[in-house]
Symmetry: D2
Subunit: 369 residues, 4 copies
């Protein structure tokens, strides 16, 4: 029967997370503006700032909430994960502190499902412990995210796979210890049975990072976190196959279903933070002799933002609830797709309005001073 | 704990309503295009078509669901009422058949709360039985819906109130047996304590319907259902006061809180019907050698409509759930206001797209032939 | 060299038209709300009101300005016609008073180009004099405006064409003396060489008006001006062919090129009138203790409307200027298409805002009283 | 009389500019991504790349086109300046090469109007020759661009002005040789007569750049071109007053009127370049087995972009034409304001669509490799 509330026990956990994120993690954005530092496991920031916070999360039993208990996670359903991610989305460091940082979180999920014992030991365990960083390499420069256009292949030679091709937008490649690379191994199959997943250690010869692509308005030229990578005669042993030959799409879907819900709820958290900043600004800034909050156009921005955010949040939670209920992301794929297409518009709208209300302060003002 | 489903027992009722509306009421829109006929209690349409359907609803125990059991209603909460109204909103005759036709439904609510025994006997009982029609007269020609601009007054003379002024957009006035008129009786009070409610029988001398205002695109000139009324020395006995002197706003709020939820859920039903028509058209009409459903712009219209409707529906249901939980519409007034402002945009967007997809068939093609 | 002004001599003519329309024609909308009366050439309204006004226009030498001087018109270019139509668009009766009423104006254009001497005498002359009304029948119920989907045919039998099929949205059919009907006569040709134009007198046996389709929000059910017509074994003599066999598209294009500019400039006039009404309302209506003009959201509506209208007007005038310059609508077809798709959005946006600013007064309030 | 064309002689000049910008300047964006280098007059880039190009422009007689001939400019009207700036807007280095780089261009205008002979010699001459860079300091951190909220003051002490306060968003401050600072000198006057302009050499003691504020998505943190500056007991001689005491607004308006037209036309150029990139991408990228150009949603993006750009361009040119005609920016201030508010939306819409059509390639991919 219709219920729009969280049970008291879980709400208590969320309350702790909320207070912890606000007090301990949100300040890091200002203290350490170079947002890629923490990905470097050898950096002082990671060792001295991130690690101790991770220990607190583990001590609370909230580490890697998306994983099953057998892997040290909490075995939460999608609704609970959603509510947790809503809080983590408020600040860019929180997912790392809580062990739910993409793409590591999704990579851990598929390793948990498909990895052999040896693969688990070599790749999954250090990943779960947060000792290493991983990368998921599917998108290609000319094929985009459309598998029909992919051209990166792996050919079997003796007891090795030999990979040739290019991948694009490989998140965190520059800090990763291994890549999960989607390659054509069965070119004669139907399009969605052509690809396999291979685990490729980052130090395998033949891998070149052509460019570290950034996000407009976020990264320095050439210093972004989304690599353009070339694979030339890159050789990995046959046993580095993850899942079945030709089964790459089955593997990939494992990480995408729930992942979109988490992304969406982090987006809700991010948009809410933008809305809160808009509200703070509206009640503190005067112009033309009047506080911004008195101006109808500002009131409209606030009202529209609340409306878009609240409605979108309910759609995401309903979708999460359906996944929990049917245990079948395929059945809920229409809802998941709806969440995916609505998400960027909601964030763009609310963040743009927040920038507007801040005027020139909405420009990049973050600095160390 | 979060739940987005209806309990099985109530769902069964909704299923019956859904089938009944579809089979028995939806066809009436086409059969009897003059949509005001049923308001006339003496019309053949009302006696021969509406009455028998109303009897079926009563026999099922679904009559006037918004009223407390003591008044012959079902005592449903707002969530259940919302889900019921979602179905009734699909077609313009359904609310009348189910005894939830505005403004009679809201008028019955306030009579139930504030009427004296004599008033209940004279006005509420025949209204509940659907034997008469009523009118709520608040809006004014120059003051709109802003009470600060109202000027219609009632002055006490002996044992009578003497009303002078004008009201605007008085729905169903032309068929009503009595009006509930909001008048200034305590001009010296603060703005929101100035008005009282008076029950005015429609045949009281001094009432003139200046014009029956219509809705653009709906009614004939001069034949609309929203009257512009002039009150000149209209006299009613003192005992026709409804509620306290100066208490008109308290009375009015009684009908507006939940009313907005019902309106919103009927809007959801109406928009869903428009979306269904859009879908039917998209899969049946070819142009430029291709079915509409294959065209990206049509697909976008469908996707956007689904998204807007689904999100809005969840917002309305969450608001209904909050009213049920807190039993306090004041506490939930922010949510209710959000529903109110989101509603017309959702309907306008979806209905406009449905018209677009129908092309010139989206024009008024209904006829008797 | 860039110039955004009208030469003084023509401006003087426009000034007379503007004053005449305002003083003599705009009031007719309120005086004679039944907007189809003037189409009936036998009606008192036409004889006593429209005719005398037409005589004044003719006396001024402004009658049928779109026609070449040889046909009694003014031989204006598209820019001048545009500026004239901008004024005529302000009120629904003006085009009829100025002899530029669609579809008669376009029908006269194609008759002037393609009619034989006999056809000119029988159909064009009384049309130019405004003694009869005509109809252009191209659109079909299932094919819409996509010629690839048309099915209405004419088969030659002896010295007659025998027409069978249906047409939809045939404007003014109910008042027309003759129809120009587009029919398939060469089914074996390529799609755009399949059709011919036939002139069909309205009283030819076999023509049935299935329904007079209306525009939503404008006409009564069954009383609209856009007919759904059935042609069953309708026989016309061979000499009623207009233009070449298989040449219907060449004929049709003659009327569509410039016609879209006139429509667009009338739309500019209509939108400007809506904007003026918005402004009048904004400076005369108070709500919540403040004049509407002081509210930022109303100011935004005014500013957005001005911006959309001014920019669109310049686009239309530039397109008209290109047609005048190149004497080749084909070369300018991209611009003409741009005008066509921008037009409805501009009008819809501005008219909607005007309705909003009028509140419930934006409903249909026109009446005879 | 309406004319939408450029005269042949001036068009020839534009053609040369267009070819020169395309061949010589557009490539610089890719070759020298650090877009602030050229502001540094001592940099190799400025000396070796920019200077020689500037000489070519001067040799063609196209240097500093916005200035009167007496100052070495071309004395163009606003329409011609607009058409020139439309080309310069295509690439970020072009204004510098043509001597029309803001804020230097506007600063030169006001120095030309108000400077004493000594000021001209010391500040205007090297500025016109492009030997130094200048800064205009009006906006304040808390007052924004609303003069009513400004607090930076200058108090007279002996033969010096002593400045105290803060300025915000002072473009190019880090490279400037002098600042034109707007300060309160007559606090007892009416708001718009309170301020004076002072010329402040950049090396005057007491000036601190608190932070070099960047534009989100453009600059590095702390490395932007819009400085936050603190003035503490900054002393300049009395003769550094520019214009009259209390006359700062008169001075400021001199640079803002036409400046908005130039900005707008550069924006048109920038948006057109984005549209061209969108088109190139649409005809070269396949996804889901189809070229982007075949997809209706991409076609819609192209059509909407063309429409918005073409209409906006005409509005700007009409406004420029009105300024040229009336020689009175005050009379045309409504049009100028319309241009100002429409401009960012046009650019945002077209640039966003171009980014969308490029997918992840729309991210910042520029690099030296």
């Amino acid at each position: 029967m219709w219920d729009f509330s969280t049970d008291a026990e879980f709400q208590e956990k969320l309350d702790w997370v909320s207070a912890f994120v606000h007090a301990e993690i949100e300040p890091l954005d200002l203290l350490f503006p170079a947002h890629d530092a923490p990905y470097d496991r050898d950096s002082a920031v990671f060792r001295e700032v991130v690690r101790p916070l991770q220990e607190q999360v583990k001590a609370r039993g909230l580490w890697a909430a998306h994983l099953p208990p057998s892997l040290g996670g909490m075995g939460m359903g999608q609704v609970q994960l959603g509510l947790l991610n809503e809080i983590l989305g408020r600040c860019s460091w929180a997912p790392m502190v809580f062990g739910t940082q993409a793409p590591d979180s999704g990579n851990a999920e598929i390793l948990a499902h498909y990895a052999t014992d040896e693969q688990r030991k070599e790749f999954l365990e250090p990943l779960l412990e947060g000792r290493i960083v991983s990368c998921f390499a599917m998108t290609e420069p000319t094929g985009g995210a459309d598998p029909g256009g992919f051209t990166c292949t792996a050919v079997r030679e003796g007891d090795e796979w030999v990979i040739n091709g290019e991948k694009w937008f490989s998140s965190n490649a520059r800090w990763a210890s291994f890549f999960i690379v989607m390659v054509i191994t069965e070119p004669e199959n139907a399009p969605y049975q052509r690809h396999s997943m291979l685990i490729v250690p980052a130090d395998t010869p033949g891998i070149t990072i052509v460019r570290n692509v950034g996000i407009a308005g976020w990264d320095q030229p050439g210093e972004g976190g989304h690599a353009y990578i070339r694979y030339q005669d890159v050789r990995v042993p046959l046993e580095n196959l993850l899942g079945d030959r030709g089964g790459a799409f089955v593997v990939a879907q494992t990480r995408l279903g729930g992942g979109r819900i988490h992304h969406a709820m982090r987006t809700v958290g991010m948009a809410r933070r933008a809305l809160e900043m808009m509200l703070e600004r509206a009640v503190s800034r005067h112009t033309q002799g009047e506080i911004l909050a008195k101006k109808q156009l500002v009131q409209e921005m606030v009202a529209d933002s609340w409306l878009e955010l609240e409605q979108f949040r309910l759609l995401v939670l309903q979708t999460a609830w359906k996944i929990d209920k049917y245990h079948d992301t395929h059945r809920v794929r229409g809802d998941i797709a709806a969440v995916k297409i609505a998400m960027p518009t909601v964030l763009k709208n609310i963040a743009s309005r927040a920038l507007q209300v801040h005027g020139s302060l909405g420009s990049r003002t973050k600095c160390r001073s």
